[in-house]
Amino acid sequence: MSKRTVQFSIYRYDPDKDDAPYMQEISVDLEPTDRKLLDALTKLKAKDDTIAYRRSCREGICGSDAMNINGKNGLACLTDIDELKQPIVLRPLPGLPVIRDVIVDMTQFFKQYHSIKPYLINNDPPPERERLQSPEDREELNGLYECILCACCSTACPSFWWNPDKFVGPAGLLAAYRFIADTRDQATNERLDNLEDPYRLFRCHTIMNCVDVCPKGLNPTKAIGKIKDMMLRRAI
């Protein structure tokens, strides 16, 4: 890569001074070593320190810098800058209240995550050593436990946009299945009861936007399908 100038159009809103949101057109000069969108944002922030966004690990594991990039949700730190059409349009994740610029209020997202009881439930007295689990049983958790709670999926889901208070959303349901699938967990029935409702699980219409945007390559739709299957089998 070489030195280059990149054009941005960024959603700006500071409730402390702006009456309404607006798009800011701004460009930034990049060094050959600037590879990711987050590198460019760091340069932009050095130029205009009023641009506000979340970021931390810069390697796609903490889930902080999710935003809407040229119309698609993704992590700034895992997005190659040179593969984006310019001007690069950055907006906050859709469907959640905006606090400032591209920073959204994630309360509703985490409320749904918490609603599925995201912790192992096992009421036997803990043994002295680890509980045993076969490698095959452990493999059932692959593709589930790696979620980074970035919210790219849930905020790309029309069902979540319509009913963020009632539909658990893909991230929360992926987590629900992560515990259902864990041989050490004893609360499968309770977990299914908790989702037996016209909205919490069944608002998923397999649109699959979640799969399309997940920066970790996970498949919430598949996990949701498995929960639906279990629900059905339990009913007959």
Partner: protein
């Protein structure tokens, strides 16, 4: 100006591994606890740990905590306190098994036990040959661990204050710690958290260097707060440079890659570690491997156009092993080096990774400092664990997987000690009248200054100074200049200007506050490093070379002691290393080789 006051039994600053582990102890003991974090807990930097957590479970071959203790003392180049090291290594099985009970998805052996892999410096039978001691969840151990501990806290109903930044420690005239001032990032509101116990779990400060594996948030906030409150910082000259950061990007590549069979090679494809560590080879201790790599590069055997990196080769491994045990590393290689490690070796360089020093603590998690005639008197009401603390178990060099163990063991012991002291009747003490003044003054100064350098410029000046003057190899004259330069950076930082004046999510202001904390840490590092005239562990000076009298440049007669840096007047004191373990015999001083 009056500031709202929130009263808690305990306040924990930081919600990474150490903070979450402490919080479990306090919440499950029924104490009213506030956990403050700059980021949502699962975004803390523990999440980026990859290779594993050490425990002598012996799931795949014979192992013993005493062997682990020996390795840790040797890894520390004998600067670690042997009582604390025994405490940690003995507790390892218990805290790792607890994590499994919390639901952590460890990989498994064929018989269903926790999977363990070899790691640098971890050996069986007192240094004989590498042993499988690192308990792993693929190469995402930190992620799996942090989420499991957050989940346990959800179950325990821990009260989190998410996206709150702690600003300053509150101490009264008798030196007791009474809580912190903190700012809610969404509103800019400043509040006093008035507590009977204050636990710091604020993590590291790797962002003092230009090239670092650390997250943006690793800005040494706890160390800055402690320093401003008159608490000394211990052994700050010792910084670990991880051998394998992705060249250019700095992103971490776990030592677990070498644990699974990866090999370091120079420009002529030579496995050069055979020359530097004939026994442990690529699995020697991190300081040893980083120096070997830096030497290869310095002597012209680096790779690439600028000959400025070496190669980490796993192309000889079965792709199925890579996909199963190192899937995250493969992603990182593709994302940040443009290299698929199944087909091509990864370009790597030693990169700043971990601070061995920190806030001085006893292994019970209580903060200690010289008071009266006692070099290690307890600071009442104050506890610390994890990377921000110095127990000291890592001494002059930390072994891989001992950081996750440190945050579990000392997060838990800090929590337990706080519970014990609170149940023993420690009461809320009256807040001094000026409790919030320092924080308010700092914020107001940052908001109102005009004409100084920007935060980005100030940070860059600091990071360049640290990188150039206190890197993998250190030089007497460069350290001296480094001290002058870092004091100039500090002076310039007092004029640092921000343009953002908003009350709402003002990231410019947050970064300015973080930079003030980083500079405290940078100063402590440079001044402590300049003062230590020997080579030991990660601190290697050109003017303290390997000689017959001083093997590896280490001078035990003069320098077998901990540094204590006092920020108020940039003075240094020393305190003895505790060579007396709790129950076993002392591990005698020896020349270190792998």
């Amino acid at each position: 100006m009056s500031i709202p006051i929130l009263k808690f039994d305990a306040v924990i600053v930081g919600a990474g591994g150490a903070g979450l582990r402490s919080a479990i102890q306090l919440s499950e003991a029924g104490l009213k606890t506030a956990v403050l974090s700059k980021v949502f807990p699962t975004r803390s930097h523990t999440v980026a740990a990859q290779g594993g957590v050490a425990a002598s479970l012996g799931n795949s071959e014979e192992d013993h905590w005493h062997w682990h203790m020996y390795d840790t003392v040797k890894g520390s180049d004998w600067l670690g306190d042997q009582d604390a090291i025994e405490f940690m290594c003995k507790k390892a099985n218990e805290v790792v098994v607890e994590l499994e009970h919390y639901g952590m998805p460890f990989d498994r052996t064929d018989n269903g036990k926790i999977y363990q892999r070899p790691f640098g410096g971890h050996m069986s039978n007192f240094g004989e040959k590498p042993v499988r001691r690192s308990c792993a969840a693929a190469d995402r151990t930190g992620h799996a661990m942090l989420h499991a501990m957050y989940q346990r806290n959800v179950k325990a109903n821990t009260q989190f204050f998410v996206e709150w930044m702690a600003l300053d420690l509150i101490r009264d005239s008798e030196g007791h710690v009474l809580g912190v001032t903190a700012m809610e990032m969404e509103t800019g509101q400043i509040v006093i958290f008035h507590a009977r116990a204050t636990i710091f779990a604020t993590g590291g400060a790797g962002r003092i260097y230009y090239s670092s594996t650390n997250a943006f948030i690793n800005t040494g906030d706890g160390l800055g707060m402690a320093a401003r409150a008159g608490i000394p910082l211990e052994d700050m000259e010792f910084w670990q440079f991880h051998p394998t950061g992705v060249a250019g990007a700095g992103v971490l590549i776990t030592e677990g890659v070498r644990g699974e069979g990866g090999i370091l090679r120079n420009s002529s494809k030579e496995r050069f570690m055979e020359r530097y560590a004939p026994n442990a080879k690529d699995l020697a201790s991190r300081d040893v491997v980083s120096r070997a790599m830096a030497t290869e590069i310095k002597e012209g055997r680096g790779c690439g156009v600028n000959k400025d990196y070496v190669l980490l080769d796993v192309t000889h491994l079965d792709p199925a092993t890579i996909m199963k045990r190192l899937p995250g590393i493969r992603e990182i290689g593709i994302q940040f080096a443009g290299v698929d490690c199944i087909k091509e070796p990864l370009p790597v360089v030693p990169t700043c990774h971990y601070q061995m020093g920190g806030i001085p603590t006893h292994y019970s998690g209580r903060v200690v400092m010289p008071q009266g005639g006692d070099m290690s008197a307890v600071v009442p009401g104050f506890y610390a664990g994890g990377e921000c603390a110095c127990a000291s178990v890592h001494g002059a060099n930390r072994l891989g997987t001992n950081s996750l163990l440190d945050l579990l063991v000392f997060g838990k012991s800090a929590g337990d000690s706080a519970v014990e002291d609170l149940k023993g009747g420690r009461a809320h003490r009256d807040l001094p009248k000026d409790a919030g003044d320092l924080a308010l003054e700092r914020i107001s100064a940052i908001d109102n200054r005009k004409g100084g350098a920007s935060v980005a410029e100030t940070r860059l000046a600091m990071q360049r100074t640290m990188q150039d003057h206190a890197g993998v190899f250190r030089f007497g004259d460069m350290l001296k200049q480094g001290v002058t330069k870092i004091l100039e950076v500090e002076k310039a930082a007092r004029q640092m200007e921000i343009k953002d004046k908003s009350k709402v999510w003002n990231t410019a202001r947050i970064e300015a506050l973080e930079t003030e904390n980083l500079i405290e840490v940078a100063k402590a590092t440079m001044i402590s490093a300049e003062a230590r005239k020997e080579s030991r562990g990660a601190h290697v000076r050109d003017d303290a070379p390997d000689t017959a009298e001083f093997p590896n440049g280490r001078n035990d007669a003069e320098w077998l002691k901990h540094t204590l840096y006092f920020p108020q007047d940039n003075k240094i004191m020393y305190k003895p290393v505790n060579m007396q373990p709790l129950t076993v015999e002392a591990i005698e001083l020896k020349t270190r080789s792998y």
